[in-house]
Symmetry: C2
Subunit: 364 residues, 2 copies
Amino acid sequence: MARRGPTNAAQASAPTSVDVARLAGVSPATISLVLNGRASKVRISDETRDRVIAAAAQLGYTPNHAARSLRQRRTNIITFVLPTLDNPYFSDVVRAAQTAAQQHGYAVSVIPAKTMPGEFHALSFLQGAAFDGIIVAGRENCTAAELRQLAARGVAVVVLQEHSPDSAIQSVSVDLEAGGYMATRHLIDLGHRRIAHVTEKLHEPGTRRDRLDGYCRALEEAGLTFDPSLVLTAENTMAGGSNATEQLLDLGALRPTAAFMYNDQMAVGALHALRVRGLRVPDDFAVVGFDGVAIGQFTAPTLTTIDHPREELGRLAIEALITAFEKRPADMREHLLPVKLVVRESCGGGKTSPPKARRRAQAK
Amino acid sequence: MARRGPTNAAQASAPTSVDVARLAGVSPATISLVLNGRASKVRISDETRDRVIAAAAQLGYTPNHAARSLRQRRTNIITFVLPTLDNPYFSDVVRAAQTAAQQHGYAVSVIPAKTMPGEFHALSFLQGAAFDGIIVAGRENCTAAELRQLAARGVAVVVLQEHSPDSAIQSVSVDLEAGGYMATRHLIDLGHRRIAHVTEKLHEPGTRRDRLDGYCRALEEAGLTFDPSLVLTAENTMAGGSNATEQLLDLGALRPTAAFMYNDQMAVGALHALRVRGLRVPDDFAVVGFDGVAIGQFTAPTLTTIDHPREELGRLAIEALITAFEKRPADMREHLLPVKLVVRESCGGGKTSPPKARRRAQAK
DNA sequence: CAGTTCTGCTAAATCCTTTTAGCTAATTCG
DNA sequence: CGAATTAGCTAAAAGGATTTAGCAGAACTG
């Protein structure tokens, strides 16, 4: 009822536990005990409990986040660092992570770090540590040293799709190498001999086993020689995939008959470039994507791709974080999830259009 | 050098301002003054300043976020509440918002609220107010009352694409109604008479002037009667757009010859459904999307759409928030940004394939 | 009835930084 | 030279919730 100051009715400031305590006729300590269900440690009568709850409800009381975090030395927030928001891949991963996190009492917030202008290295924001743990996808934004520093400070860190840079850091990945192998092998089985691979960027050696490794393994296994001119680097967007594909088509006689693209997004770009150039897919040129996101089911033609267990990835990342919070020794430092080939139309070979595909794939 | 406790070297905990103060031989107050550049208020000698900076660097000191927030009553974090992460539309908006926010010293974090399982209404997380301001896109997650409550607590609120629910809340939108009009008018101009509109959901009356309003206005202006059977509601995904389009195609003799889709995502689904049914676009059926996101340039055929000033939207949202922080009276409570028609292939009428389009559009 | 055990609650410390009044020593002024 | 500034820094309070030792009274116990 009674406001703090006498005259400043306009000053709308959030009620504190002291306000609730006063209204309920108890001490602030009791407010905390009741509202956090600390009944196991300290006894509170039902009557008092009800009174506190009613008072809190009446005032619309919510504990001050900063104060609570300060005292508890934890925020109950997990931050998911993504390169950008424009990759639907992470939508599924984050959704699953949220579900898992919530079950453990954590909220998930997302930071698209690559879009940060200027010198933003996750670090600057991260060091403030307005969160208890962090899941890093897309290491462009933090060096291994930065991550180690965070971990050393007591922030739990999990990296996605890369090798762990530190013994205190767990990693959760899908088997990119196997995916690369499956995609390339699929094209080889369909008769392709000159197969391009468009990737995002050549990662630092040792940080991960990537699509490219699987691509090479498949070629080697089939007795095909690796041709560096067929491996391109492009921006990870539809436009990037389109541009890279144009470059491939400009190779003339040495032009490949198929491309294994870094992800579905870039594969969509590839399909576009091929259409613009008047090439039929899969008859004149085959395309395999990577990730298995929704768009692949809606392109013309639909996209053969390597599907990832994205939900599992998000769930595991959270679980790895939780074990780190609890200082439990992780049963595994690196989690590796399997991928699977999903055959649709863009390579032929699927159920949808079996006849022409195999024949033409060899052409050229 | 010297650690806190004698034996617990393993206990890695972040250094505090007291640690830095001790090392630099000054008081914690000085640490704060130096590191925050409060030189204007309190004088610190250059020598001391350098010593403090060196000490902070040596220990890798970063102020504790919770303590700072508690004292300053602000977090310097702005939260962007999105329905989901799988809509590329927001990628551009958030990127621009980040840039703008950073210039004012704020960091932006994103919460995909619709993906929150269970009873998550932004509120539960939001009330903790681990942020100073919030931009809400996709009101599914917060009722007007909840937003008002937040605003009353002193959290600055900006809503996107809806009318402001409260005088203390600014809104920033693009002119959805005009967009709906332009899209529909474009189809009418191309000769279409039975034009469908697939939307996400029929919003609460009064919360916004939406695409549907523009659609109706264009029909009316052209003397066409509104046919409720041509207005469908579907899930805001490619699959949703595809399903809705199938329903439209099942209308038999009453089948429309064109569809104006809620957004580009759903339009991609529509193109897919049409292809599956063997209809040619734009010859047999025309499609207009909405939003102007990248995918529209890469579909087959490419997508005619209503382009939004997404960067402007993000930037303005932040600016509205900043004025709210500073308690400046907003010069405008509702900002409305213009949209524009981008003609590509999916309706004909563009530069790419002008001849057939107009002729066939009338067919049936 | 004195002693013990519960019950139910509170006082006070703590988390870490920021902020402001004010102190001390050095400098300047008249 | 004493008084008034000024420079340079610090002490201490504040911010709001959580946590733990412990108090006061009620209920038992022998």
